[in-house]
């Protein structure tokens, strides 16, 4: 039976460091993904993940369990990302996979059904998406990230961002609309190429 986050948190508070290590193992990937997509730098994202877990560990005795552990961790991470970008006074940017060997890409990232052309197209689209996301205001970008990649509910995002539910939906709508415009302006992609589709 899988131990829940809440149980692991309780054990960690009681002094069991291994339980917290389990929490890290469980959440380091999503937290890294959030940090990376938020700031766009691999090394810095790793630093932020490390810092986030360290802060969470230190603040654990004060964690009342009113929110989910993951939401709390997301909040810490987003705050760290915000601090990082404010400190560095720079917008997120998307590293490009340029300079990589086609053969490498083919072997490393290609599923059996995917041709090299598909891989290249996906890489290209990924780069466009990353750049387009970098143009969004921070609140809209976080709302999209939390909804799209982390599957948080509107209510959870509202609590994380400290705003009403309707504001979250508005931010999502505006963010997606801006992305759509930006991606259309930039060019291609599988979804773009297909054009309008009915739900």
């Amino acid at each position: 039976m899988t131990v829940t986050d809440e149980e692991l948190v309780a054990r960690s508070i009681a002094g069991d460091t291994e339980s917290f290590d389990q929490l890290i193992l469980r959440w380091e990937r999503p937290i890294y993904a959030l940090a990376y997509r938020q700031i766009g730098r691999e090394e810095d994202a790793r630093d932020i993940v490390q810092d986030a877990f360290l802060r969470a560990f230190r603040a654990l005795p004060g964690f009342k369990g009113e929110a989910k552990f993951s939401s709390w961790l997301y909040r810490i991470t987003l705050n760290l990302c915000r601090d990082f970008m404010r400190r560095a006074r720079r917008a997120p940017f998307a590293p490009t996979p340029e300079g990589r060997d086609v053969e490498d890409m083919a072997s490393a990232e290609r599923s059996t059904a995917e041709s090299i052309e598909d891989v290249l197209t996906r890489q290209d689209l990924s780069r466009h998406v990353a750049r387009a996301m970098g143009t969004l205001p921070e609140e809209q970008r976080s709302a999209i990230l939390l909804k799209e990649y982390h599957g948080l509910t509107f209510q959870e995002i509202a609590e994380l961002q400290g705003c009403p539910l309707s504001t979250v939906k508005t931010r999502l709508y505006q963010g997606l609309t801006m992305l759509r415009r930006e991606l259309d302006r930039r060019g291609t992609g599988p979804a773009r190429a297909e054009g309008s589709r009915t739900p």
Partner: protein, 263 residues
């Protein structure tokens, strides 16, 4: 067909897009999409954006964070001497006691008269002795000219002793050196002293020139080493840029070949 309940309402559109609303509301909005081209285009466009977003994945990286506690410090054998935490008032009282005992032991003497406030401990030396000590301490013991001065002084003394007649030194024993020094005239002494000073100056100038040359040689060597390092770095950079360009070229060639095959 324009419907103010749905058209331009992000709340409903987002709930529909993320399947968040209730079933009835979703069906109602779907029905609206059939009749409203603007909303249908909007919804389809945003759905396509969501599909595009799926292409963006973070790079694979090794994450192996662990919480590691610092090992507990080993218990010292003097740990029994460590006092338990004390309240502030007790610490203040202890500090006052220590200061009081120290004042008593040192025989503190505080004097206030026309000369001003004078604080003196029982161990203090008289003012004259203190001044002498202070002036002695103020002399730079390791001044570079001191060694030369001592050497010159020593040389002068030796020469002086050599000029004394042997009979005079043995007969007079503890006699005055001034009286004994009459063998050399004052003018000669002065000339000799000047000569020694000049020799000392020449030696110092030579030493200075030597050190300056050494310093310039060191600086030059360091500069050459730095330049070589910069040149190496630039070479590496050029190599990397060239490699990246070659990779790009290869990729382009490959794409061209693939597209030609497909045609």
């Amino acid at each position: 067909m324009n419907d103010p309940r749905y058209c331009g309402n992000p709340d409903i559109l987002m709930s529909y897009l993320y399947e968040d609303g209730d079933e009835h509301g979703r069906h109602a909005f779907e029905a609206h999409l059939q009749s409203c081209e603007r909303c249908a285009t909007d919804a389809a466009g945003l759905r396509a954006v969501r599909d595009d977003l799926a292409a963006w994945a973070p790079p694979d990286t090794v994450l192996d964070f662990r919480i590691v506690r610092d090992p507990a410090p080993a218990r010292s054998r003097w740990a029994w001497l460590t006092l338990p935490p004390m309240p502030a008032w007790a610490q203040l009282a202890a500090a006052s006691l220590v200061v009081g005992v120290a004042v008593g032991l040192s025989g503190l003497e505080i004097q206030y008269d026309q000369q001003g406030l004078v604080v003196r401990t029982g161990w203090s030396k008289p003012a004259a002795a203190r001044t002498a000590d202070a002036s002695a301490a103020a002399k730079p013991a390791d001044a570079p000219w001191r060694a030369d001065l001592v050497a010159a002084q020593e040389q002068l003394r030796n020469e002086w002793r050599q000029t004394l007649p042997v009979s005079t030194t043995t007969a007079q024993g503890q006699g005055s050196p001034i009286g004994a020094g009459k063998a050399m005239s004052d003018g000669e002494y002065l000339a000799r002293v000047r000569q020694l000073i000049e020799a000392s100056e020449t030696r110092q100038q030579r030493e200075l020139a030597l050190r300056l040359t050494q310093f310039m040689r060191d600086t030059e060597t360091q500069r050459r080493a730095d330049m070589a390092r910069v040149a190496d770095g630039l070479g590496v950079l050029e190599g990397r840029t060239g490699a990246a360009a070659a990779q790009q070229r290869e990729m382009m060639n490959y794409l061209v070949r693939v597209s030609q095959k497909q045609q």
